[in-house]
Symmetry: D2
């Protein structure tokens, strides 16, 4: 029973069916096929707007490519210190931008606060030739702490960014999980709140390798097709990427998947919170739980065969637990029961 | 009936079955799963040697990443002017290497000749600080002209490269097609002939997004895992990439697929060669035919609904025709018959 | 007696005097000093237009930095195959642009012809995602063959470039030599003919380390100050760079220097042309002579202690001879006399 | 009277004399001249060791180029958050390394402490594919806070770095000032303490544009000449760079200059420390003083025409005062007297 990551999940059956369904006859390569066009159109519909949409294979590629047009090499990208782009992409944003600097703006529960961002940008030395220039803000939705920015939060951040002339990028690797938590529309949670470009993830929530970069102002996307190609992200048999996304959006599979994962995360958090000595570290708003448990309980869970990460290091007693679209509710119940049993034994 | 490219084909059914088969239960992400390990091992077996193997999603990524460790930013990569890395990757090698220069070495039928390479390297100014430094040679197997390097050809090129201290890369996007043409073993056609790193393609020959970078000397692969990650090529749900490769190699599917494509290409070439006014431009050794036909014949074929490219531009009367693992022999026969009919009508 | 390059010359005494003259008291660093402002203004005056002017230390830096804003990483820069940016900067343009590709457009006597450029751009695949995108043209003035583009030549090239949406850069390492040859004004030979950005050289013609990047449309220079800084080209004690340029332009020293060099080159060419078996390879329009001489004559000149390069390799009987602002007329006469003597002896 | 920076100083007269002295006759360009060879040899003598020495024009270039061989694009460079490479080079290290990440290790008085470095490296995730890899440490000598690392401090830092397999770079923009403070030999303060590469500055201490990158293990310098060239840092008339360095080292001018600057800094600090309400923020060990003064005193000094920076922003009451080789002792005395007068008036 694996709570390590939503990446340990497989693909949703309907997505594999879609893959099989498109495997008929010849299709023009490199995105010049009907399925890709249909998906690009569908994503525009989801966001109620003409967008420039580019499918790519991984979330790291989506983020780094998006940033490569939002930040010049001499730019500064303001982001949470624990953000995926800063911590977990082995320098992909720096590589794709030609050397932009990621500047950490700490904030509680994985979120950047409006005034902290404002202060950081002001301290960044706009116009001073010796300093990398503030050009970009990137936020993660849901955050690495499992929390969510509401539309108003995003609007506040976008306000600061745009007032200083910076673009706003959203790493939406778990966009669906955030969306269903807020109840907002995709448009409200992105461009209507001021987001300029979105990394729209599907991989963690049901696909196996499907992400999209969405520019809400097509003018920003000039030349992006060339960037995708030279980054090795333009699939020749693109229909197999597009089909994943199509099935992901069809019949609101994405939202159903996210609701499932979020609901189980909430149940898991609720079950663990009742344990003596347990502390839920961040509000559980999406599909990640950060919970501190007594060492004995953790060892018991490990002995029972549950997989999860101690966060951020092997000696920590804070666990990160992640649910996904395919997490079995029974596994959640078993996990909570096991934790309670070990807690009782320890008492 | 589409002869535009082997990229217009779908995926082989056994490869989609493999995808479905691995979609059970949780698997550790980012290549830390059993299937990936198994495939890496299997590729070593195929090449009869301990290799460093890295799975990636596209051929452009495989080439550019391989070159990023074989050529420094101040390096020169000698390649055929019409090679994919030079013509069709939108500058990916330059991007990934940090600015290496691709230097064209022309040669008949898409192949680089030993003595031309030697002359080009000598003219490259080794040790002259003003010139990019000859560090790398890259050949394509099968070539962009549909021809094949035999083991002895490769050994001759490797000899020149190594004598001057250059590394030898092989873009094996159509490695299987070349292999079955020569009858050599994978080892004989690569490291035993002096190849240092191979982009081992599966996408064109049955997979939908699966390539591997193979370093025959693991020492060259130091740090490559980080490069793959920061390039956005490390799939989180890697089993879906690995499973493609596993099925590709299982039961020698790859060789059977390539034999099918090559055989139909030979039939197509034979059929067309007999037409009055037709000229086969390059030896047909793999799955590509370059054939010059009378304009009227071409128009007739277009009118009959066949898809193909005029090479290299829209007014050319030379066609590129490509067969694939899933090309229907009946389509080949129909194509030849149609061409003959139009030729007869034109006479 | 050294005819290897105009780089073997020292600095003009008036330029060293200027260096000494500015060495009084404190001056604000990084170009925030009066001398730098004065020079920037003066360069605008020279070109009769509001320009954005950036002083840098070397010609390679000037070219590569200028190209870094005129060509994106996925761009193609059309230039003569023998141009300095393509041959002699060890990949600096590729480095600074993040991987743009330099595409050679051959042409007689080091010049690119309008129709060849047009054909090359058309063949470049504008809008095709697999190809680097034609974005930039770069010409050298005077060329590497010692020839000069007239204003009308430049206008023709600029016409082609702009019609296809490409920017035009001029490598003016020997701009002064070209200018005095044509008799045109600096404005006529640059922006009035369609040049978008100029690398304005002073080093070869009297300074010791002083070049300027001049953007004729200041909008193109957005962010350039940051690029110069991060390239390590913003001198802290900038007055010592600016003072060189000021003295260079003061009292038209630059034009006098160039006239001297050109005049001696013409004399040298005239003297050598009369020798039996000699052939002047390119029109001598600036300060470089390419002359083929009998091997015995060359050996005689070498034995007499003259320094020069055999072009392009050590076994060639074509010499490149370069004059400079400080070439001694007596050396020219001696060289010619020596060549004649050896030619007579050989006869 | 300017205390803004040691960059506001001019060049030492003996350095300008040296420039004039080498301006005789032709010299081979690009460092193939006798003066350059002599200086490279002399720097080896200074460091009592065979080194690889590369002259460049600016300190930013020296640092960024040095780091470009010590850190791969996926590398992490540990440095003080306020270090010049992190704060004041507009991303040059990121540009030259192809995207390495600078990781701040805070420490009192501008210095990195051994155990903080050790902790930071351990937290850096060596071997974890998602994280940029700890490869490099960079320290500044003297630091940006005007303090100095002793040989033992450096050895401790080098010990940590090397134990984890990281290289140690020293930004020696003010190396002379640090050296004379410690009384150590150049060798003791660098390679004998474990420094792998040094940016050896001359510009701030008497030259006008002269820095050297010194590799104490020549093996690390492989390919560096090409990197310097493609960075636009290989001067064609190199003798004018080399001559600065030669005069800088001749007769120990560099040490005398640094002693002068340090002595005046100490006097200045001593004089200001006695003022009521003044606080010296960092030990004054080189030529920079950070002093907090009452706002009224600062305004008085400004009104008296002294130039200096409020640190780090315009509303701060902490001043950075910098002395140089040409600071007039009378100016120091006047400054102190003025400060005292304003302090008395305020009392």
């Amino acid at each position: 029973m694996n709570f390590c990551s939503d990446n340990t999940a497989g693909a949703h059956p309907r997505i594999l069916e879609a893959i099989a369904a498109v495997n008929r006859g010849a299709a023009m390569p490199y995105g010049n096929d009907e399925i890709t066009r249909r998906v690009e159109k569908k994503i525009c519909d989801v966001f109620e707007r003409e967008c420039s949409v580019f499918l790519v294979g991984t979330g790291t590629a989506a983020n780094a490519l998006a940033l490569s047009v939002l930040a010049p090499g001499y730019g500064a990208v303001f982001c949470h210190p624990e953000s995926h782009i800063n911590m977990d992409e082995c320098g992909a944003p720096e590589f794709f931008t030609g050397g932009a600097k990621l500047v950490g703006v700490p904030g509680a529960h994985g979120r950047i606060a409006e005034h902290d961002l404002d202060r950081a940008i002001k301290a960044g030395g706009i116009g001073v030739v010796h300093h990398v220039q503030p050009t970009t803000v990137s936020i993660t939705q849901a955050t690495e702490a499992g929390t969510v920015y509401r539309a108003a939060d995003i609007a506040a951040i976008a306000g600061v960014a745009h007032r200083h002339g910076l673009a706003l990028h959203m790493d939406g690797a778990r966009f669906a999980n955030a969306l269903v938590h807020t109840g907002s529309s995709p448009a409200d949670l992105t461009w209507r709140a001021g987001v300029d470009a979105l990394s729209f993830g599907a991989t963690k929530n049901g696909a196996f390798a499907a992400e999209a970069v969405v520019f809400f102002d097509p003018a920003r996307a000039a030349g992006f097709g060339y960037r995708r190609k030279r980054a090795g992200q333009l699939w020749s048999k693109m229909r197999f990427l597009a089909a994943q996304f199509e099935a992901y959006l069809d019949g609101e599979l994405w939202l159903a998947n996210a609701r499932h994962a979020n609901r189980l995360a909430a149940e898991l958090a609720q079950g663990l919170a009742a344990i003596k000595g347990a502390r839920i570290e961040h509000p559980v708003e999406a599909n990640e739980i950060f919970v501190t448990l007594p060492e004995q309980v953790i060892r018991g869970l490990e002995a029972d065969g549950f997989s999860f990460y101690r966060w951020m290091d092997a000696s920590s007693t804070t666990l990160r637990l992640v649910t996904s679209f395919e997490t079995d509710p029974a596994h959640v119940a078993t996990f909570v029961a096991s934790a309670r049993r070990h807690a009782a034994a320890a008492a």
